[in-house]
Amino acid sequence: MSAELPATVPIAETATKLADPKFDLTGGEAPPEPPAPRAIVALREALNGSVVLTILAVFVALVVGAILIASTNTDVQTAAGYFLARPGDTLAAIWQSVAGAYIAIFRGGVYDFTASNFGTGIASILNSLGFATPLIAAGLGIAVGFRSGVFNIGGTGMILVAAACAGWVGFAVSLPPGIHMIVAVLAGLVGGGFWAFLVGFLKARTGAHEVIVTIMLNYIALYLIDYLLNSPVLRDPSSNAPVSPSEKPTAVFFHLLGPSYSLNFGFILVIGATIFCWWLLGRSSLGFKFRAVGENPRAARVAGIHLNRMYIYVMVISGVLVGFAGVYQVLGQITTGFDRGIDAGIGFTAITVALLGRSRPWGVFAAGILFGILQAGSYTMQADQGVNVNVLPVIQSVIVLFLAAPPLVRAIFRLPDPDRRRARAMSKKAVVAK
């Protein structure tokens, strides 16, 4: 049966590729007539590359970044002017610009070996963990969606709404220390969860595609926050710009290692969130249903899983996790009052983080830390080497592009294709079955 439908071969192919046998919920069943879970198959392609491919994708992206850095460097351009006379100069200039930039990233993101003592040097990695915290939280939210077959492109909107809710509780309400922080965090999570609930509700009730709804809700949230920041609700009356007042110290995440290091309680919470996601997706019955829906919605429905309810649950959990990124932004990162740019691109970067982490909770955790290091390092790179920080989104998106297309990476590095032999064997088997 499956051999007759042209679209089914890749499904079976990818199904056999899955490492985890219990993950393979639908492998033996005949796939549905129209190739419905195509998107998910493609996503699975993106998520199931090996560790080697991930490292190679990062390497290719760093090479692309190096090309950009070197080609826009004025020393390199000057030296290239007399390349034929003294080619060594050009190569030296290229090496200097690229090595300088990447060493600066290491110094700013991992360990500053030029610092006078260990305490100052280690501040870099702690700073990176601070940048990684919202990326991990939002990445986890997006990953939960991916695993359930739901594309949450609406991180920006959820972060903005969550930040506004948590931020408002943080500056407008007076509560004792500790309790204030908890209430502010909860308010933010509820805000993010509500914004995502709208998506899940519309998808469940009307079938509206979540990609479109989340993109639109991003902009609605942006203009809503902009309006509120210009109204007495969120605006700091003493400021000329549309900025909120400073958060009260009772609501702000406390520093873990003293005031000289930026690492704060938010990082502990995000470790908790990662453990929660690991438990949810790997150990809980709800998470099993999520994955079942993500693998094959039709099979899941036949198995008695209430699809519409699952979409709402997935979106709310995703929104709460992404919302934590917004909470962290106002209570941990920028506590002196937020503006409409509080999202800082996390909503979209989180998609890259989730893909790089292959939607596994600890993978997302690692990817978030890598991106945090790159982000913290890129500021040092800009300050020291004059390389603009916007090389970072280029590197990040190239990583994902190559990660999403393993055949491309294999072609570049002349790696053997592990699927080819298996696919050939399968098609032979299929012919025999016919």
Binding site: A39, L43, L217, I351, N388
Partner: protein, 430 residues
Amino acid sequence: MSAVTATSPVASGTAAGELKVSYKTPITLGIFALLGVILLVVFGRNGTSVFNFTASNAGAIQLPVVSMPGHLTGVVIAILGVLLALGSGLMARFQRRTPLWYITIFAVVLVTGFLVWASTGIPHELHVTGLLVGALGLSAPLIFGSLGGVLSERVGVTNIAIEGQLLAGAFVSAVTATITHSIIAGILAAAVAGVLVSFVLAVFAIKYVVNQVIIGVVLNTLVAGLTTFLYQQVLLNNIGALNNPPVLKQLPIPGLSVIPIIGPLLFDQNVIVYFMYVAVAGVTIGLFRTRWGLRLRAVGEHPQAADTVGINVGRTRFWNVALAGAIVGVGGSYFTLGNIGPFGANMTNGAGYIALAAVIFGGWHPIRATLASLLFGFATNLGSVLGSIQSPVPNDFLLMLPYVVTIFAVAGFVGRVRGPAAAGRPYIKS
């Protein structure tokens, strides 16, 4: 049968056999008419509203300045809106669909009412022609973007990367036009830039079967990062040599451009806008009247069937996505060459996403998508105009309008929108 429909409008259309007309359109119009009554009659504002129809660049013909009593005009327009909504209801009662032109008239009437309401009692006069010209200016890139979106989605490739294509077109056209001192070269380079973004989208979506939404989002990030990086790193240090393009001049069409209101609006524009008219007409005719369009739609609706009759699905998708990229890229050049000249970081500012919204709100039809783009451009311009004349409406809500309307559209409240069946699904030949 019609009695059943009248009592349970929601169930209409489900009955087999007889073609049922949905009551969704009349109900939607009714809701808007009701909102109009609440705004214009209940919350009517006293004072006068002054409309000035003369364009700033108008020559011989000077139009009278119209001043209207705010509340009375509002009441008249509200009644008109209710009557139009009732008319739509009558059409549905007699099994007729409300035509598009009828909905357009309804929208124009209510928008006029809103304009009168918002401009009542303000110390300035409202320059209607200026408002419309500005709206068309904001709509032009959206129209290009939505045409590209319609083409690539109709051929079965979801195009989230419109934003990236616009941005790439804007960047490349500014730099090329500065270096070559040729606007035509700039526009052509913009088309090439759009095609390049499309190539990446097409290769990853068609050859590597990567999820198209992911590729679109990543491409937007990539192009935004790349253009911002090059802008900050290179262009800012060499503004004169690299980012100082000439700006297109207005080319009034003799005869047509002196027509009041319509002349300055439609026929006193630059080449890119004239090309836009051609593109809208070309895509519409091509899509529905030519062999190319039929094949394109077949590939987007049922690739397997198209393959069976000998159409090369992959190739059709690849080149039509490339064509879509070229169109969107030209739209990107409007931001620079057609408008202000130099490139600025992230200058498209989400226009690609509004264009995507227009594609969906326009039901994947080029004309409707163009109208949706015009509506969204008008709402955006209205937001900035009303913001500058101290009107009571916060402009953030007008800026929000396109997105809210689109959510309502995909949720099925404003008629049924259904995309091409195979959009977003890669086709793998057995």
